[in-house]
Symmetry: C2
Subunit: 608 residues, 2 copies
Amino acid sequence: MYRTHTCGELRMAQTGQQVTLAGWVQRIRKFGSITFIDLRDRYGITQLLLGEELNDLLDKQPLGREFVLQATGVVSERSNKNPNIPTGDIEIKIASFVILNKSVTPPFTIQDDTDGGDDLRMKFRYLDLRRNAVKKNLELRYAVNRAARNYLHENNFMDIETPFLIKSTPEGARDFVVPSRMNPGQFYALPQSPQTFKQLLMVSGYDRYYQVVKCFRDEDLRADRQPEFTQIDCEMAFVEQEDILNMFEGMVKHIFKAVKGLEVTEKVQRMSWEEAMWQYGNDKPDIRFGMQLLNIKSAFTKDGKLQANGELIAGADFKVFNDAETVVAIAVPGCAEYARKQTDELTEWVKRPQIGMQGLVFIKCNADGTYKSSVDKFFTEDKLKAIADAAGAKAGDLVLILAGAEERTRKAMSELRLEMGERLGLRKKDEFKLLWVLDFPLFEYAEDDNRWVARHHPFTSPKPDHIEVMIKNNPVIEKAAEYLKHPYANIKANAYDMVLNGNEIGGGSIRIFQRDLQEKMFAALGMSEEEALHKFGFLLGAFEYGAPPHGGIAFGFDRLCAILGGSESIRDFIAFPKNNSGRDVMLDAPSAIDQKQFDELQIKLNLQ
Amino acid sequence: MYRTHTCGELRMAQTGQQVTLAGWVQRIRKFGSITFIDLRDRYGITQLLLGEELNDLLDKQPLGREFVLQATGVVSERSNKNPNIPTGDIEIKIASFVILNKSVTPPFTIQDDTDGGDDLRMKFRYLDLRRNAVKKNLELRYAVNRAARNYLHENNFMDIETPFLIKSTPEGARDFVVPSRMNPGQFYALPQSPQTFKQLLMVSGYDRYYQVVKCFRDEDLRADRQPEFTQIDCEMAFVEQEDILNMFEGMVKHIFKAVKGLEVTEKVQRMSWEEAMWQYGNDKPDIRFGMQLLNIKSAFTKDGKLQANGELIAGADFKVFNDAETVVAIAVPGCAEYARKQTDELTEWVKRPQIGMQGLVFIKCNADGTYKSSVDKFFTEDKLKAIADAAGAKAGDLVLILAGAEERTRKAMSELRLEMGERLGLRKKDEFKLLWVLDFPLFEYAEDDNRWVARHHPFTSPKPDHIEVMIKNNPVIEKAAEYLKHPYANIKANAYDMVLNGNEIGGGSIRIFQRDLQEKMFAALGMSEEEALHKFGFLLGAFEYGAPPHGGIAFGFDRLCAILGGSESIRDFIAFPKNNSGRDVMLDAPSAIDQKQFDELQIKLNLQ
């Protein structure tokens, strides 16, 4: 062993002991003939004091930043204590040292606020990982992993490994494929998730399964998506939705407790998908703050019917509202005194292409009880007050109104709400609000193909009440424009998402476990019988041999860690992430391969 | 929840309680008007008693094997108790039941001794996994996983995930590759192990790393090799070989304790590679039994010189021994009375192509002190006695002698020793003998290419004393035939294997952490500077920035589980294994992919 102690553990209690430490030179300071070195390892930083007698050695073997040093000496009380670090009361009076390895000057400083840009840090990721900020993220990741495993183990779940070289059954996302040398012309696929395997395990009777497992999706990478990502993947048999919700809110609470020391005792709030869309314009609402949407006029059907008829704005000759499919408002607390410049800036904000609205209407609810609006000439003060009241605005608040096509406007208002929450400091990094969103539609309508697609995935069961609707009706959509009138449009799924601070951290469903219903589902998605058998014959087969009712959930482990770590970026929580082109710039991968590899695999390039 | 209890938990204490169970119908027996059903789930089997009043329902909804049943009733004491199962004292008097799902007749019986052949069981793996024998294996696998993680966690190791889509740097085994759609013409590789990443993590200061991780090798599959397999992968910084040996024999002992209840207190035995080859003919000796090799004559150099000069057989006119490079013997206890038929059979055994010897010489050490041999006419009884004594034979033992070319003969004797151990019942399934094999040669000589190859891998450090020999000498082998005279032939590696009952369960090494030594290693393996930089530039780069001394080990998780489970086959311990052609016969993977996938990946087939 190169050391007797780590750089994080020595205290006053050890003064007088001879110790040997090993680590990296973080900093060197000279005071006259004395040299101070901050020696760093995974566990902390300890100050070394090198007296005059070592100056000859230091001259012969000069030290530098990031040199690897082994040093022996006696633990001593510091005259000038540093209360900011746990070892700050002591220093080591060094008797001898050995340079275990040298370092050239790092391309950026190994500090929390480094001077290295993103590209440089990724290229030298092994140096970036030395920074305390990144280390804390990986430590948090490990703590979450450990806490999840412990909870699941205590609850009788078994970690069962599923294969990585499987069959390509692209449905939704693209598969990464792997040519098989031993089976020329054939390919494996890397799993997008262990979905079918965990269902087979339920058929096999392993009624509580989990895995912390890598998954792969060959998608165009938006910011903060990775081609390989990690899921906490779980499945249970003989359960209903309620059992799963209870089990997994228990898991997340356990993680909060273990990792953040937060005791969450109340039940996790629940909300239907319709409610979430209606009140927040979003199926993963951030409920750390209010500012719910007032639906003045809307094409969104709730409980099967249109709910917002535009009464509040009726009779006014304001073409923008009158022509709009949807008019929605939020009341922003305390912003009635926004200056023209500020409201103009907000208007520009909603007009950006990412939001895509034509404009923004506002009503200032002045402290004196008067109302002032950008549409004063169309609405009397009474009308403005009525709208503001309905939106829940109080004196001093600012009401923001958007109008336009249903989907875009609702989405825009959701974004605006989040933006205002952000600006007002209502999205606190250290506040964690969990939410279950339930009762999703089973199907979405794919305009391009005029067919249904599974909103969650093809293995999700309809609500028990809706199974018959699904079985009895022909899935074919006669008139594309009238797809909303098809009975399938109203089928709700036995599916649930867990939302944390406006991010979906987990999602799952009760699964189909009956062969006939699964076949109907494949047919509904436009799959021929032959295709369904070719792709999923093993699963349909398994359902013939006594498949139990089952369901599960998968948590996005990278995202969960990022949110718990107070970050928006999952890359900060992955040891060796890829960039937005799917490249590992440190390895320089992907890369060309040898002709011999092409020959053995019996493939060749076909570059366009 | 579909059940109040599992099928494994009800006892006499619960008699009188109303319970609901759910599970699979294992067996149905009719006694007059009463029906008994054995209901099975992951936790056990419970007997259900269906009285006469349910016969109508049973007629309308007939039950069958593997039907999924939910049944409610009262726990009652059994009149006819079954002491063989934990629930054998009770049964459930069923009031009502629901068939949750039906089953067609399974293609084989779901029992420990099933009637299903290997192919059928693999095709219906989801049914095979229901068998108790397979379930026990997966439970053991999970227990080993859990025990390893707990030990490593307690010892400050961190689970850090390394990437699966990396760079192809084939060296030794073939890589599986993955075409990149976003980077046309380029490929990722799946990792053969996280070797370079764990070393980078050491450079980054995460001084204790572990992962239970899938690895991939595209090799021709011998029996019991899988294209994807799992490693317990570990690395430590600031350590020497001794630290690693102590840490990981601790881990294996912890696993023994946690999984098998076995307390191993003594230090794990250690043996040099030379010693193992000399005494056992094998670098992973099974030390559950003796029968060490007597090296009568040998071309094997030990401590740098030839050690067996043939003195014991000198002077005899026996051409087979005289012409042989190597003559080795073992003393098989208690087999002196083998009949002619038995010695003939052994002779045939060593003449099989897998062993490949020309014949077998034996000496019977009779109980009366006489000696009888197949080579009586060449050796006096005194000479026979001298050989037998040297081999450690006692009265009643049988000495077996093989002669021939060094490598083949030594290997054959190793096989013969194992075979005799097996026949004599000396290789007990419930006995576990650990062994460290140390001091491997750093290099092997590759005849085909007339160059050195790394015996372990190119990142393994030579013994400290041998570093200079490596740096100072030119690796080029002038005369292929004289490679043994090259100084590199005698360089020993800082490498170690852990052997359990004759199987290598783990292997590792202290790594090179100096750029110049790593460059020399790549050069020794015949890699040009350019090639080394292209393939491993990131690692050479990392070694410039303060790489600490480090080393590690990887355990073959599948194999470790198999041995602990008393099996030779790793497939029995993998939930969804592949067959010897690398196929998953359940999924029917690998398989053809769509033209669209080829187009997007910009590759095409080039079938020969």
